[in-house]
């Protein structure tokens, strides 16, 4: 991994070189909007199969970093590598097809579609996404076979997140927490390798929060999924992530496990707004 953001490293932080098997590598990422530099040379890596937390005070550039990685914004500079291949600036659908998907800070359910439709939309390259196949009598049989498989998987996923009782409900009628679950279910249906979660727990009640976190751990354990998590609730980050990246003013300020981060005086300073 190359040089990082000009900030000096503290003893407590772990250099990203030490990340074994990085699945996602961000190197010198930079994004400028007009005269404002939102991300300024962020460099970090996310290990395969890990649950990594990304934190930082408001305006630290976390969301912009997310948007640059997932192709919503085109980065002004820097490189993003996923699974050994450069993915900088690729459009979101290409990334999703390669196994890198995201959720949104404010759950973006497709509100006039049912929960099942939302979930069934997600799988890649469905046979029936071809207009001709979905119409012509001979070819439609393949579509139906594929659809049945997708439907069954969709039900399984809804069961997994315990929102199967809402399957035929319009997504717009769901509560805030249920929308978060739906969004997770939808993302899983794309068969991802890595999921970027943008504040998945905001506005979620404690019971549901527990459930969501349990699911995330289960998916790591059983399917080997990798997660990068932006979250405001420090307890969640500290208790669940084995690796934490702290961003401040557009670049990475510190990295390490929970203990290293909590004892890092500069992180505290960044949060309380002192000089760094």
């Amino acid at each position: 991994m190359s040089e990082s953001s000009g900030t000096e490293r503290q003893t407590a932080t772990v250099d990203s070189d030490s990340i074994e098997d990085p699945l996602l590598e961000v190197d010198g990422l930079r994004k400028q909007f007009g005269g404002v530099v939102a991300v300024d040379g962020a460099t970090f890596a996310v290990g395969e199969g890990s649950l990594t937390g990304l934190i930082g005070p408001n305006g630290a550039g976390k969301s912009t970093t997310f948007n640059c990685i997932t192709g919503i914004h085109e980065p002004t500079g820097g490189r993003v590598t996923f699974d050994g291949q450069e993915i900088t600036g690729l459009p979101p659908y290409t990334l999703a097809n390669r196994g890198l998907v995201r959720t949104f800070q404010i759950a973006r359910e497709l509100s006039d579609m049912t929960v099942l439709e939302n979930v069934m939309l997600a799988p890649d390259d469905q046979v029936g996404e071809s207009a001709i196949r979905s119409v012509l009598p001979g070819l439609r049989d393949d579509v139906i076979a594929d659809e049945e498989a997708v439907r069954d998987r969709a039900w399984e996923t809804l069961d997994f997140f315990e929102i199967d009782h809402l399957a035929h409900e319009n997504a717009g009628n769901l509560s805030g927490g249920q929308r978060k679950l739906l969004e997770m279910a939808r993302v899983l249906m794309t068969d991802p390798e890595m999921v970027l979660l943008d504040e998945p727990l905001a506005g979620v009640n404690p019971t549901l929060e527990e459930k969501l976190l349990e699911r995330i751990h289960e998916l790591r354990r059983e399917q080997g999924l990798t997660f990068l998590l932006v979250e405001h609730d420090m307890d969640v980050i500290m208790n669940n992530c084995e690796h934490i990246i702290v961003m401040h003013q557009g670049s990475v300020l510190a990295e390490g496990d929970a203990e290293a981060i909590t004892s890092d005086e500069r992180v505290l300073e960044a949060y309380l707004g002192g000089e760094v």
Binding site: G28, R30, Q32, G41, E74, T76, G77, G78, G89
Partner: protein, 371 residues
């Protein structure tokens, strides 16, 4: 990092440039051709005439004046369309029919005023049927009265429509409002047709031809259009820059949320927007009829797309842009005749609209989208 950023910029430029380059090339060719044409030379290449021909300076000037006159009226009418777009956030497809409504109200008033005492039956006067042709010189007071009635009447119509249609749906999305305006357009146009019929009536014709500089001539009605629209544009400018409510309109077009927390009475500003936009549309329609001489129930509807073109070329939401865009589209509509057969000049104006929307959606007068 800098290198990467530059590479990204130039990539973006290459993507953007072909359109701009093509437009510049076409414009350059047209200007060159115009100069060659005026000098009366023709240039042939491989047996085809590629440049030049003949064009009298006088006919060029009269085309410019035609375009300018239509453009001023279109620009005047466009102000309202632009304002409703920026303040109420929707494309008002009923604006053209407001132009028609104002024109009819104004011309009925002018016609009756001019016909009183001549013994013409009132029904014929009301129906604009007596065959009388008004002009500024011969019937100054009725024409002036009609102008005022056109403005005031279309304000009334606009406020009524707002009250019945748009106000109950302030919270609705812009596409719902657009669709509602299509309903308003239909209803208004055919109410006018119900009252006045679907025929075209000749109501005005220049009473006097004034020649300037020996080559250019305009009728008194055309001069009226020129003077009144320039005065009204100046008045709009002063209103926006000097009066409190005008500044509030600009503020609201700029940032509606901030306007609300600043204590600007947004509903009143919306009403003023309708008043100003509707009034100017009506006056614009009245003046266009004064210039062209004829009026029919759907002339505003036919004009609507041209008004949209003006507003978009000028940058939708910008009032000064609407004025300038009107003049520009008027000129395109008229000058296109130098190169294109008469059947295609209107198509040329619409093509300009499409090209501008694709290449520079913020309008050609810069990215300022507010008043």
């Amino acid at each position: 990092m800098g290198l990467v950023a530059n590479a990204g910029d130039s990539r973006a430029a290459v993507v953007d440039r072909p359109g701009a380059v093509a437009v510049a090339a076409v414009l350059g060719y047209l200007v060159l051709d115009l100069v060659v044409k005026l000098s009366g030379i023709s240039v042939f290449f491989l047996g085809m005439q590629v440049l030049g021909g003949s064009l009298e300076l006088g006919s060029l000037l009269s085309m410019v004046i035609d375009g300018l006159l239509v453009g001023l009226a279109v620009g005047l009418a466009g102000i309202g369309l632009s304002m409703t777009y920026s303040i109420l956030d929707f494309a008002n497809f009923a604006h053209g029919d407001t132009v028609t409504a104002g024109a009819f109200l104004g011309w009925v008033a002018a016609y009756i005023a001019a016909g009183l005492g001549t013994g013409a039956p009132i029904a014929e006067l009301f129906m604009l049927n007596s065959g009388r042709q008004l002009s500024t010189v011969s019937t100054f007071v009725p024409v002036l009265l009609g102008l005022v009635v056109a403005g005031v009447g279309s304000v009334g119509v606009t406020l009524l429509v707002d009250r019945l249609t748009y106000r109950p749906m302030r919270a609705a999305g812009n596409i719902s409002l657009l669709i509602a305006s299509i309903g308003v357009a239909l209803a208004m146009r055919y109410l006018i047709a119900f009252v006045f019929g679907t025929q075209t009536s000749g109501v005005a014709s220049g009473g006097l031809r004034i020649t300037f500089f020996g080559t250019v001539s305009m009728t008194d009605n055309e001069v009226t259009l020129l003077v009144v629209s320039l005065l009204l544009m100046l008045a709009v400018h002063l209103l926006l820059q000097r009066t409190k409510l005008g500044k509030a309109m600009r503020a609201m077009a700029d940032n509606e949320d901030l306007a609300r927390v600043t204590g600007i009475p947004t509903e009143r500003v919306i009403r003023l927007t309708w008043i100003l936009g509707g009034g100017l549309a009506g006056v614009g329609g009245y003046l266009l009829v004064l210039e062209s001489g004829t009026i029919s129930f759907n002339f505003g509807w036919i004009l609507l797309l041209l008004i949209f073109a003006a507003v978009i070329v000028g940058g939708i939401g910008s009032i000064y842009g609407a004025m300038a865009g009107g003049v520009l589209i008027g000129l395109v509509d008229s000058l296109a005749l130098i190169w294109l057969p008469s059947g295609l000049t209107r198509a040329a104006a619409f093509l300009v609209l499409i090209v501008v929307l694709l290449l520079r959606p913020s309008g050609i007068f810069g990215g300022v989208t507010t008043a």
